[in-house]
Amino acid sequence: MQPAQQKSQGIPNDPIGQPGGNPPRNPVQLILGIGLLGVMLGVFLSYARSSVDWEILQTKHYWSAEKWYYGGYAAQYFETPKGYETFISEGLCNYTNMLALQEQLPAGRARHPVQGFPGTERLATPFLVSALLHAPGESANAWGAFWQANVLLWILSVYLAYKVAALFFADRFSPWFAAIFVALYPALTVTFNAIKQQPLGTAYLLLGMYLFEGRLGKAGLPFKAVALTAIMFFGQFADGGWCFLAAFIFLRAWWLPGRERWATILWLGAAVGVSGLWLAWLRSLYHLPSVTHALGFSFGRMLGESWTMLASWFSGADVSQLWFLNLSGATFFSVFWPAICEGFLSIHAVLLIVAVAGLFFVPRTRMFTVLVLPMLFVGHLGTIMAGWLFYYGYASFPAAVMVILAASGVLGRLAGREGLLPRAAALALAASVCLTFTDLKKQAGIYYGQGAGYYRRNVEVRYGNETEPVDY
């Protein structure tokens, strides 16, 4: 029989099974299958059906009145089928930009411009939601379509995590572990009611990994180039998706055989360049807003400043008035990067321990473990560009995907071994990972900055003379 899809090339084969072989079964697979169904049902009933929009709560003053409003406070309220609602101002352009996408007039005569910060870089959200609004009956409640899009994004991410893990690991268990971890991953579970769709970039990374590894492997070079260009083009509207994917493909290429490595890097560079030109043309036609322009950010200037700072630092000169990666002095090393790593560790400690163990015992997982730090940096590039000293949990999601895949490979290897002890250990480790993901208040504290310490266990809001409070 023909293989259903090719396995990823260039990474040492897992000793427990060859791609295209028939790896052994054991009862753990059934447990994991039931576990995934249970997790998805639990997440849907407990988190997705809850009406809490964690981001707008954080935006309000309930947890962090002492410091600041996160992400722009809601200035307007709107009548929705559920009554009046406020929406985070930074995400609101995801709604209004649907009007820009649904225009059918040429650029010069369009009534609705693309707007907001960041408007262009998040256009994939209004694109997705407006596609859903084409379905019968949907237009009556556009806000409901955002929720549907978030649920679809969550399901798609779970499916893609399963498929990507299946591409890299020949056992029957790793994909299930990866799917379970992604199904519970806080970047997805705290955003069911959001209109910003921050996990979109990482969902796009998973999609790109699946397409690149599983579907484009045997494609001819011309089609590969066209497809990569299209993927990079759409990714520029997907919350940084193109950047995460380009970084992954570039880094992953170093595990490919010589000629294929250089061809991949070449085609990737061409795809990024052509898609950038495509977008630049549209920018000039539609006067699309740009984050880099709004922030006055320039990569060239940042690199130049960073080089000067490093050179001064190594020569022992005072660097307090110089800049490194858009942060003054040595702030990147003394404050920013430690904060990012601390935030990342607070959620992924168990996964990281398992992944690091895999460096020694499961060669196929090494690539993902090695990519964790570079992807953590790439994920937080947006914060670096803005010059903010803030930990956004969802910006760690690309790195989390790497550590989830690495840990899933290790746990899959354990689960595939003979004997009760390794199988029980794999399940126990997976359960402990799941437990760290389940406290949404804590996760929201980590995800939307300030830290989990700002979140109170019991929050009660009393509105005017209403007798019943609202609990969070």
């Binding site: 406070y73 009554g83 059918q104 609004l133 509105y463 005017g464 609202v470």
Partner: protein, 237 residues
């Protein structure tokens, strides 16, 4: 191989085989080109996004009938706009436009007094706790010129101000009040024009429009109180 491919695997078909991805790419380009040339849809931004989606679709959907369905959906999306209701003007957040000092704030007019009556229902549960802290919070601009009355006691806003995200943030400690009503009044000092931040809290059909609220915290419990503004002209400022 995995002997039982999933339903989705059967739908998208095995990789490497097929009828080739180029027909799907060509047909989708023709559809969007025709939609543009015929004037059905001249939104090049949207058509470009649709084209890139169609190309990605051609990577995945390898079976002829599945690709046809996908192309049909793309053609529908290109030709039929979704009905999206207008929201009205969208203002940028203050920090997105530095210097926009008068956005998102309402000035307390000359001679005006804004009054809020907070009903402290439910506070009794934590009222006796030793670690209970309560604050009146007000956000806005130029709050050093604000006179705040709490239960009739007038206070200058200035000493209580800290900066929060570019705004003035007032935090006045309330001690450990018993359940009941806390009345807060705001007025401007002479020659001052304090401006209160819009902080629309909404609940059902009620709107609590100003960033003026009470917060009581004890251990892991936090109680927030919102109140609507009543406005009156005050004599003799």
């Amino acid at each position: 191989m995995k002997p039982n491919p999933s339903i989705i695997d059967r739908l998208v078909g095995p990789s490497g085989r097929l009828y080739g991805p180029w027909p799907t790419v060509g047909v989708s380009t023709a559809i969007f080109g025709a939609a543009y040339l015929c004037g059905i849809n001249r939104n090049l931004l949207y058509l470009s996004m649709l084209l890139s989606v169609a190309i990605m679709m051609s990577v995945v959907l390898r079976r002829g009938w599945a690709a046809l369905v996908g192309l049909g959906v793309c053609a529908f999306l290109a030709c039929v706009p979704a009905k999206v209701a207008e929201l009205g003007t969208l203002y940028p957040a203050p920090r997105d436009r530095p210097g926009a000092e008068n956005m998102w704030v309402t000035a307390i007019g000359e001679g005006e007094t804004w009054t809020y009556e907070f009903t402290l229902a439910g506070l009794v549960k934590i009222a006796g706790n030793a670690d209970l802290t309560g604050f009146l919070y007000i956000d806005g601009r130029n709050l050093s010129g604000l006179v705040v009355s709490v239960q009739g006691e007038a206070l200058e806003g200035g000493p209580f101000i800290v900066k929060k995200n570019g705004l003035d943030h007032i935090a006045i400690p309330l001690g450990n009040p018993k359940a009941g009503t806390v009345t807060v009044s705001l007025r401007g000092a002479p020659q001052a024009a304090p401006r209160i931040f819009h902080g629309p809290e909404v609940h059902g059909s009620s709107v609590y429009g100003d960033a003026v609220w009470l917060e009581f915290t004890s251990g892991q419990d936090r109680k927030i109180y919102e109140a609507t503004r009543t406005m009156a002209a005050s004599g003799g400022r």
